[in-house]
Amino acid sequence: MTSTVDAPVDAPVEKPPLFGKAEKRAVLDPLVDDNPIALQALGICSALAVTLKVSPTLIMCLAVIVVLTASNTIISMLRNYIPHKIRIIVMLTVISSLVTLVDICLKAFAYDLSKSLSVFIALIVTNCIVMGRAEAFAMGNPPWRSFLDGLGNALGYSWILIVVGVSRELFGAGQLMGAQIIPESWYAVNGGWFVNNGLMVLAPGAFIMIGIVIWIQRAITGFSEAH
């Protein structure tokens, strides 16, 4: 059975502890050193589209955490029964069922937010993080570790999204979660220095903002790509 464990994690041959070294790495690595957005370049679409304001960003993060942990766990439980050739279809079916559940729950409990997220909740199906982790990790690791890997990656994805969301709403509208943060007296019209940065609200602002976040993140971790 040791052959089912993939290379990135040290494979314990004895009975693994519930929360050993490999488990710790599965959660902590994706937060900084192996961040899904900044280093693996997965799941970028939604990172850009939903970060206009903080509250849809939080909903999106929550949805991704639920879907990613659940899909990793389920696919890992099924991994020995999935024929290799049709694994993509099987994974997509599992993932799209989970996303449909999340979508229906959101429509029931937070209808306005789900409207403002438009098709982007549905597009978690094609969010490469979910597929990528299922293929790269859950297919070769036991359920508990896959669950932690899903959680770690979802959290690594979430913190980048929240940073981008906070800076876009703060600089673009002077607000956070819809509440005015920058005092009115700071605005240039009232004799202050602050002007809402219209670029942040638009698509180019999202691209440039995430480029800068990736720049900072990679400068800290010391990672750089070859040309």
């Binding site: 799941g43 589209a49 993509i88 079916t93 799209s96 069922s97 098709v119 440039i208 480029g211 990672f223």
Partner: protein, 209 residues
């Protein structure tokens, strides 16, 4: 004639809008993953772009038919079940159609152009999880397009996506000789350049179509 073609709501203006004004990548951020991964060389970018146009032009009308004859509320009345509402199955159906179409395109490319097949490599199956394709189908369902409109919309967004990835690939080929700060190299600078391209595309939004 020209006035008829460019009238508000006409097919030509819908296509132009999908290509330039509401570019699926630069305005809706869809299909970023393969855009970032395959935009290193112009020729592979062109190959993938053509594959995306093709798959999108087929899947949009196919999913339209599924939406309007099977899934939507009351759509099954032709089968004598006017009260069934299967919209909750939408995602599974859409993704199934897309995966099947991608498989067909993959086999066709493998047969007719093995060179292109080899250079696209892993990214061909990944078209199945390219959000631009699922996104175009979902957008045409959300905006309740007709069959012809959704075909034109699919085709237009495919062209728009190809335009974006090919221009990015051309810029990245030049960027290889530029002195970019080490942590910004690759992903970071690609995003910032994409931001600049998106800014350029925003100038199209003033056009009256």
């Amino acid at each position: 004639m020209a006035a008829f073609l460019l009238a508000d709501g006409s097919l030509v203006s819908l296509a132009l809008k999908a290509i330039f004004v509401e570019n699926i990548l630069l305005a809706f951020f869809l299909g970023m993953c393969s855009y970032l991964a395959v935009s290193k060389r112009v020729d592979t970018a062109i190959g993938l772009g053509i594959a995306v146009i093709f798959v999108e032009t087929i899947t949009c009308p196919a999913n339209w038919c599924i939406e309007n004859y099977i899934l939507a509320e009351g759509a099954l009345s032709w089968a004598g079940m006017p009260e069934t509402d299967l919209t909750y199955l939408r995602l599974i159906f859409y993704i199934g159609v897309i995966a099947a179409m991608v498989q067909i395109v993959e086999m066709a490319i493998d047969k007719f152009s093995p060179a292109l097949y080899n250079s696209l490599g892993i990214f061909l199956p990944l078209i199945a999880v390219n959000c631009a394709i699922l996104g175009a189908s979902l957008f045409s369902a959300e905006r309740s397009y007709t069959l012809v409109e959704s075909t034109v919309f699919g085709f237009g967004s495919g062209i728009g996506w190809m335009l974006a990835i090919v221009s990015m690939a051309a810029i990245r080929q030049k960027l290889r000789t530029a002195h970019v700060p080490a942590p910004l190299r690759g992903l970071g600078i690609t995003f910032i350049v994409t931001g600049l391209i998106a800014m350029a595309f925003m100038t199209f939004s003033g056009i009256q179509l």
